[in-house]
């Protein structure tokens, strides 16, 4: 009898059963599906019931439905049903859901309910668009400084403290307030600190004048950069989830310090998505300066104190007051109303701060004109090829304040297309810093399928070749190795499904490579057993020492491959990272299957026999 602890065999069996269970969902294939998402709110179980009833009443059969991460997926056995269902839902719930046409796995609902799901496919296998945006983090820091400057001016003005100037020095990241004398400085300091409690102001001398300086710490700079990236990620997510863009399973993630990577599986035409994603639009509400003549200001270039010159859409000059009543970031909601009595309008809600300011303003200025300024920032190349931020500020609407209002009102004077886009952009929020696209990869669905086919062919033929070779060269032990290799692929599939890592074409290549490496481990063991047999050791002892002695070699050789895989995972992005993940997981499964699985199987074959004359190796 060859001894081998029974619990190890049981362990191998349990792992294998779990592995098979986890890998099982991958056998079902995909069919046409609809994915429903709702703007800003998850789709509820009640929606699911009502939609199911709706489809049933119209005779459209769904072959499955499930809710996941606030999105409802409905599967259909035919393309016609899928399209018909989309039209029905859109008709019954106009504008309520984003409806994306997609593919979903046929995994039975009970499997999904217990958390079993198939492998995710990467964009190179599924088709889709991969976008990387660069966030202008420097611009975000600059904005922070500009805000400080405005705050300081406001505080000083309100406290009627005399000051000479407030200067922002950008690359030095500081704001300086210059005063005439020490007395002014003391008063100014008090005024600023009263409004901004935790600021660390240092007294310096700028030339002759005494001054206060605020210097951003590296910590503050990093925070504002992080904030800009995070904020943009949130906004991009919101924009991608809005009904205006029907995208299924968008993924938005930070990449490195100042980049955002977006994956849009299944998307064909990226033009519209990109147009919406890159927009930096916001609104400002300002009172109209009715005492001065805008035409005169425009022709002479002399803009009266306290006013700022704007133009309307039809190029009419308008003078607006410098103080902003409410800015776009105080907006909480915006929706497009196609038919109001004044034509298309965007209905707007404000937060409490904005609402109280608006209330105060409308009370004070009843009967006066208020203007809405639309600000659109984009990044363009100028003639020299240098990137410049281009800001377009337009007055889209001027209206007399007819009543007192605070948190809810409408903006008219927009055309239907603009109105829809403006509502979407306002609702999603303004980007904290402009975005520049730096990388874009779009893969068509037929190429994805082609890649899957090629990868699968390579894998199947490669494995078959290895199987046949092992069986011929190592006979019964070779067959054992073949079983173990299959188990390795099953376990690897199981692990990948479990961690939710996306399988890419390089990932499939890594599976093939893993098979090669798993064969390695088996060969190491068998060659060692053969060597022991040649040295005249009994078959029984040869098995035991073969496995024992091969361990350190297998362990060592896998460690180095693990190091390479890990480094690749650290440095890699996209498809390359997919390769690294499979490689690293494959190292674990192949070690487990070769050392424990193969040993257990040998035990089952030879362990029960009282006497082993010779090994089939």
């Amino acid at each position: 009898m060859i001894s081998y602890p029974r619990w190890k065999i049981i362990l191998v069996a349990i792992v294998l059963v779990i592995g098979i269970l986890l890998a099982l969902p991958n056998l079902f294939g995909e069919e046409n599906a609809l994915q429903l998402a709702r703007d800003r709110a998850p789709v509820q179980a009640s929606d699911r019931t009502s939609i199911a009833e709706l489809l049933e009443s119209k005779g459209v059969r769904t072959s499955g439905a499930f809710l996941e991460q606030g999105r409802l997926t409905l599967r259909f056995s035919s393309k016609q049903d899928q399209l018909k269902a989309r039209d029905l839902i859109d008709e019954a719930h106009p504008g309520e859901f984003t409806i994306a046409l997609t593919q979903a796995s046929r995994v039975p609902d009970w499997m999904r309910a217990v958390g079993l799901s198939p492998l995710k496919l990467g964009l190179d296998l599924r088709g889709g668009v991969y976008l990387v945006y660069q966030v202008d983090v420097a611009g975000a820091v600059k904005q922070l400084l500009d805000h400080r400057e405005q705050d300081f001016r406001a505080s000083l003005r309100n406290a009627r403290a005399a000051y000479q100037d407030v200067q922002v020095d950008y690359p030095e990241n500081r704001v300086r307030v210059l005063f005439k004398d020490a007395e002014g400085l003391a008063k100014g300091r008090e005024a600023i600190l009263a409004d901004n409690r935790n600021l660390h102001l240092t007294e310096i001398r700028a030339g002759e004048a005494p001054a206060l300086e605020l210097l951003l710490t590296p910590q503050e700079i990093k925070e504002s950069e992080d904030y800009a990236v995070q904020q943009n990620i949130t906004i991009l997510r919101n924009r991608l989830n809005s009904p205006e863009l029907a995208v299924s399973e968008p993924q938005v993630a930070r990449e490195g310090v100042d980049r955002i990577a977006i994956q849009l599986p299944g998307l064909q035409n990226s033009a519209e998505v990109k147009k919406i994603l890159g927009k930096v639009a916001t609104l400002e509400f300002r009172m109209v300066d009715e005492n001065d003549n805008p035409l005169e200001a425009a022709s002479t270039g002399h803009v009266p104190l306290g006013a700022k010159l704007y133009y309307t859409r039809d190029k009419q000059p308008v003078l607006l007051k410098r103080e902003v009543v409410v800015t776009g970031d105080q907006l909480t909601d915006a929706s497009f109303q196609p038919n109001t009595q004044d034509g298309p309008a965007v209905s707007v809600s404000l937060d409490s701060r904005g609402a109280s300011k608006m209330l105060k303003n409308t009370e004070e200025n009843l009967g006066h004109l208020m203007a809405v300024v639309f600000i659109d920032r984009s990044r363009e190349k100028n003639a020299q090829g240098v990137e410049v931020d281009k800001t377009t500020e337009e007055v889209i609407n001027r209206a007399t304040i007819r009543g007192v209002f605070s948190n809810n009102f409408q903006i008219t004077g927009v055309n239907p297309i603009e109105g829809r886009e403006l509502a979407l952009l306002l609702r999603a929020g303004g980007l904290a810093a402009p975005l520049t696209p730096v990388e874009e990869r779009a893969i068509g669905p037929s190429l994805g399928q082609d890649n899957i086919d090629k990868g699968m062919h390579a894998m199947v033929f490669g494995m078959l070749a290895a199987f046949v070779f092992m069986a011929i060269y190592y006979k019964l032990f070779g067959l054992i190795a073949d079983v173990v290799l299959l188990a390795n692929v099953v376990l690897l599939t199981a692990l990948l499904s479990l961690v939710g890592a996306a399988l890419t074409l390089p990932g499939i290549a890594a599976v093939v490579l893993t098979v090669g490496m798993a064969v390695d481990a088996n060969i190491l063991i068998y060659e060692r057993i053969r060597e022991e047999l040649r040295n005249g050791v009994s078959p029984r002892a040869a098995i035991t020492t073969g496995f024992e002695r091969a361990f350190s070699a297998i362990f060592d050789s896998n460690i180095t491959a693990f190091i390479a895989g890990f480094v690749l995972w650290l440095f890699g992005t996209g498809a390359v990272r997919g390769f690294a993940v499979v490689l690293v997981l494959g190292i674990f499964t192949s070690m487990f299957t070769a050392l424990m699985g193969s040993r257990a199987l040998v035990q089952l074959v030879y362990g029960g026999k009282r006497k082993v004359e010779r090994l089939s190796i």
């Binding site: 190349k381 490669g462 093939v512 060969i523 060692r528 180095t560 190091i563 390479a564 690749l568």
Partner: protein, 312 residues
């Protein structure tokens, strides 16, 4: 079936000058080729635009080229990608180009040649990103080598570790040389293949060294050169068998994996060949020339952890 029924007796150590010479030639040629011809860097590294299209019938590439140049598309490379029906267009980085627009424009121009053409893929990589990815790839190579060096140093004596690392360095250099000769596109997947080669090619070296150490303990009076020779010969069948099967699998990847994986699989094939060669002929020989003695191997034994404990 068994290819190595008897233990071979190849005199690896006494002939090592020959193998050094061969390796030196390989390395110098590879480096020279990389320096002179350079690598055909893919858009991952150069930045630029790639548009892949699929035609119902194999088109005349010259016709496509002239269609592009007539429309004022400058500096476009047009080539077949995998099959003669798949046509790849590569354009240098253009700061004003938007991916979707370039793809659509080229598709339109190609439709004039054959109306059935389909757009398969568009990739736009900014020049700065390309530069960064290239640098990142370089750091990944360095990181892997350092990680492996640390591991080998912890695991073996200093002299063996140096031998192993030099032998490992040999392999990616050969792969780079291969890319320079064939001008196969060198992209991110090629870098991942090289990293895999580095991780993988150390396997055999480690196996040989393991055996050298094991032999040194049982046969203390034998000269080191003989111990090494015997060890390499004893492990020769494993070294060759494991590499043979892996090579078999990777060759299938090369044949069936398609154009996208072509560079990747080619790098693996060359890397595995070079790795097998270097671990048999070079690594232990280098250690010997660093005046490795039996004592060097034994010293380490005392502090080496007993890793045979708790085995399956």
């Amino acid at each position: 079936m068994e290819f190595f029924h008897k233990v071979t007796r190849f005199p690896f150590m006494s002939t090592r000058r020959v193998w050094y010479g061969l390796s030196a030639v390989l390395i110098v040629t590879s480096l020279a080729l990389v320096a002179v011809r350079g690598l055909n860097r893919g858009i991952d590294f150069t930045g630029g635009i790639v548009v892949e299209t699929n035609f119902p019938q194999a088109p005349n590439i010259d016709q496509l080229r002239s269609a592009l140049s007539r429309a004022g598309v400058q500096a476009a490379q047009v080539q077949a990608f995998g099959s003669s029906r798949d046509i790849l267009v590569r354009l240098p980085p253009d700061p004003n180009a938007k991916g979707d627009q370039v793809g659509a424009r080229i598709l339109d121009l190609f439709k004039g040649v054959d109306a059935g053409v389909k757009l398969q893929r568009t990739e736009v990589v900014g020049p700065q990103v390309g530069q960064e990815l290239f640098i990142k790839g370089g750091w990944a190579l360095v990181g892997t080598l350092v990680g492996i060096l640390i591991y080998v140093l912890a695991r073996f004596t200093f002299k063996l570790a140096i031998g192993a690392i030099l032998a490992v360095l040999h392999d990616p250099i050969c792969v780079l040389g291969f890319f320079a000769v064939t001008q196969i596109t060198f992209d991110l997947t090629a870098i991942s293949a090289i990293l895999a080669v580095i991780g993988y090619s150390l396997n055999d070296t480690v196996i040989v060294f393991d055996r050298v150490r094991e032999r040194a303990r049982t046969a203390r009076r034998l000269p080191v050169a003989q111990v090494i020779d015997e060890s390499i010969n004893q492990t020769l069948s494993r070294t060759l068998m494991t590499k043979l099967v892996t090579l078999l699998v990777v060759v299938f990847l090369l044949i069936f994996g398609g154009e996208t994986l072509h560079g990747f699989s080619a790098a693996l094939v060359i890397g595995i060949l070079a790795g097998t060669y270097s671990s048999i002929y070079i690594s232990a020989a280098l250690a010997l020339d660093l005046s490795l003695r039996t004592d060097d191997l034994l010293e380490r034994k005392l502090s080496k952890p007993e890793e045979v404990d708790g085995l399956p």
